[in-house]
Symmetry: D2
Subunit: 288 residues, 4 copies
Amino acid sequence: MSIAPPDPTATLLISCPDQKGLVAKIAGFVYSNGGNIIHADQHTDRLAGLFLMRIEWQLEGFNLPRELIAPAFSSIAQPLQAEWRLRFSDDKPRIAVWVSRQDHCLFDLVWRQRAGEFAAEIPLIISNHPHLGTIAEQFGIDYHHIPITAETKLQQEAQQLEILQQYNIDLVILAKYMQVLSSSFLSQFPQVINIHHSFLPAFAGANPYQRAYERGVKIIGATAHYVTQDLDEGPIIEQDVVRVSHRDQVADLIRKGKDLERMVLARAVRLHLQNRVLVYGNRTVVFE
Amino acid sequence: MSIAPPDPTATLLISCPDQKGLVAKIAGFVYSNGGNIIHADQHTDRLAGLFLMRIEWQLEGFNLPRELIAPAFSSIAQPLQAEWRLRFSDDKPRIAVWVSRQDHCLFDLVWRQRAGEFAAEIPLIISNHPHLGTIAEQFGIDYHHIPITAETKLQQEAQQLEILQQYNIDLVILAKYMQVLSSSFLSQFPQVINIHHSFLPAFAGANPYQRAYERGVKIIGATAHYVTQDLDEGPIIEQDVVRVSHRDQVADLIRKGKDLERMVLARAVRLHLQNRVLVYGNRTVVFE
Amino acid sequence: MSIAPPDPTATLLISCPDQKGLVAKIAGFVYSNGGNIIHADQHTDRLAGLFLMRIEWQLEGFNLPRELIAPAFSSIAQPLQAEWRLRFSDDKPRIAVWVSRQDHCLFDLVWRQRAGEFAAEIPLIISNHPHLGTIAEQFGIDYHHIPITAETKLQQEAQQLEILQQYNIDLVILAKYMQVLSSSFLSQFPQVINIHHSFLPAFAGANPYQRAYERGVKIIGATAHYVTQDLDEGPIIEQDVVRVSHRDQVADLIRKGKDLERMVLARAVRLHLQNRVLVYGNRTVVFE
Amino acid sequence: MSIAPPDPTATLLISCPDQKGLVAKIAGFVYSNGGNIIHADQHTDRLAGLFLMRIEWQLEGFNLPRELIAPAFSSIAQPLQAEWRLRFSDDKPRIAVWVSRQDHCLFDLVWRQRAGEFAAEIPLIISNHPHLGTIAEQFGIDYHHIPITAETKLQQEAQQLEILQQYNIDLVILAKYMQVLSSSFLSQFPQVINIHHSFLPAFAGANPYQRAYERGVKIIGATAHYVTQDLDEGPIIEQDVVRVSHRDQVADLIRKGKDLERMVLARAVRLHLQNRVLVYGNRTVVFE
């Protein structure tokens, strides 16, 4: 995975029914408009009969102005019944980080954003608790405390959606936000990444570390995934694991898990921001 | 984990209700009889109120003859309500490897035994298929082909038990043996290690690689565990994982999994043979 | 990394000075001849100004007969000053495994070849010792014992080259062959993969495990690389590591290292056989 | 590795020439004074003829008052020619973090200390640059900017030593401090942990990531070690690695390395603070 190049690039993520000539057609589109490809990677899911591709090229010297690239590509994509997404490397998506009480993922994300690891902005933190407001303050990020109860959930989600819109948010990161989002919310704002504190599908649901301890596993994990209406069942972006032993109590699993969680979440966010993750069905292709 | 020392050692694995003075008492037993301890490791499960220990000492210069060590230690262990196991490093447990059609674990185990990695003998292979008989022949190991059907299972298990007894077997390794053992079998022969082709508890049951592919996980695993009457629920001895990507088809997961399976199984067998694994409840302490 | 598809494919590995239009040109070559691309991956080394690509397509339905593909592609490649290599998935390269006294890598390679993991044949084993002849016999592979001394080395290498030619060998694997090959040999037979028993560049040279023990490292490794005239300096194909602790004596490092060595070597060989490794300068691009 | 128990414990780290009866003697000391051992682990380096042990017991119910434990144990240790260190779990060592311009390790250490992962205080940051002063301020930690040039080094080290004394510092952590400490400094303040940005002994010295890139390694690492007068040669406490590929430019190695560095350094610091690291010769025993 390369760092953002000094000069801006365009990236296309494409999927469509497989047929001959797709690479040539797509690369030809870039070339015929004077683009220099710096990354092209392609995958065919032969079981699904699906073609999936990521292609990135330098905008300098490209003959189409930015606003015409999408319309121009559209005329190629439509006959192929392709789904696609175009992104410019100097666009900075706006992220809202949602948290509850734990601060490790929030701290990590904000630090990375400040360190230039994410080509993105983080103007907003939403929490169902007031605790992490001081961190928001410390980093100069707006903090909205929106408590959630079973009764108020739907109403509060309406407020959350309003705030997301107001801040012009492109991506929500659930960084240890311990509430389930409703189907209604997700249908209105589908771009949500969550970090789950287990190696899914092991220990889906509540208290994974407690259950990992009870089962006596020798390895624990964490999973970053897109959120769907089926809890803990969304497309997996990234996973990682760490060894544990009989000496590790539940509190140790939680501590070790925190390190995993922030690493795995950060990698997933970075992959997403670089337009490297293509979802199809309940799976992802990650073009690293 | 150290290799077997050139001169023979005795190892005690002990667990008992926790109380003061246990390390001193057990180490004192060894010292007062002139033993030189080369490994002592102890763990307390404070939730369970349980003391667990492994202690290994050189037999050279030890004042008690081998056959008197167990009776002598018994008088210490009984008042402590301790469970314990004594093993001499130059004892060679006799292993039966059980297989079905896949040969990778069998090959690996036999190669390691020949290479001196296991202080054990492998005089017997049992299979519900005839296919791997040539490997048995190649290495000069007896091969018993005992086909299993739903109807014949209990009767065949009786035959299996008889053969185990006849060969004086101490440990059964299920090296990709694709049959479930009955409760009755396990109550008569409880020392059984199995390799499961997933990172338990994920994908317990059948076809784990197919299901891992369908779920789109980024990591697959393997688990070696003692066999109990609850399928795939026995105490875990060792686990390991390997990364996979969207490029890996089910056949690739199976291929990568084979490498995991033989590594994880071999490590578990070695730990067991060195008397490093103490089971309590459904968990293990592994004194590495 | 996908398994070989049931129907045969052609793979091109290409490197050339970077310029616009290369992906389009190469994909266009495949498409215009009716080929269906199943894998295309491209990398640009911007520091070196180098374009590197792997492209694989199905031969079924391809309009050019096999023997005309290379000449046809040549007319595209020459103006680009490209270096390239064409391979058909149903070609079976012929491998000679070279060993000294240790058998773990040999056993592993032969087992994998038998298990269908390598699309290759292993008709020949060469050793400077007689010890492993019985394994060769066991698997029905010719074994040539060619002892080496400082005085006889050049002369024996002449004999080795003759045997390689006689068996029509495409690739030599040094599977714990503890002799250095001369520059002269390598200039006549350059396709040689070696497994080095350390995480290069740490502990290059002799006795890496002993030196790793003395340095007190917490991790050891193994490295598979192409052999060049600079000992232990050739382009690295694959590396892996394993944790060790103070409990591990040199003999334990050797034992753990054996598992690493065979895994790392096998992965490197497989990547090479699938035409996934592109060497440039002293580096490799591995198109996984 | 277990978390600090709710009630305070004492830990002894001991090394001495091996002889019979050491475990019994040391455990006996604890037991005879009414102590309940919660962790005892022992290692014998048979090559060096050295006995090494860690023993931890609950202070509640222990009959010796804290200030008498060391004198009492001394009378046992002296005849054994033992070196030993006693630590109480509720003692909070005082740490000075030294940095240059990079903030990732500093941030991580401070966050962990705040999160309760370290039983220690961090009252002081020393830097040869002014840049990270704002972080110090953010967390309410004193920041001393002491610029270093070749000419001023010895004089500035005198000032550094004075400040360490003034703040009553027990441990210095070089968290990406890019200056070499003099022998004279180390002889006066020997408790120093450093994080080196490579998998030592590979790429010792300057610019390890650049050199790793040039060598084309497939894995990079980081190493935490005690600082000695031989640069990058001190006893290793902890190491870890991460995979890289041809896609990773030097900037990517640096970014990935940062994650490694903070994880490895944090683990090493935690092990040190829990009195789990015993140095002998140029090696460590880590009682996990």
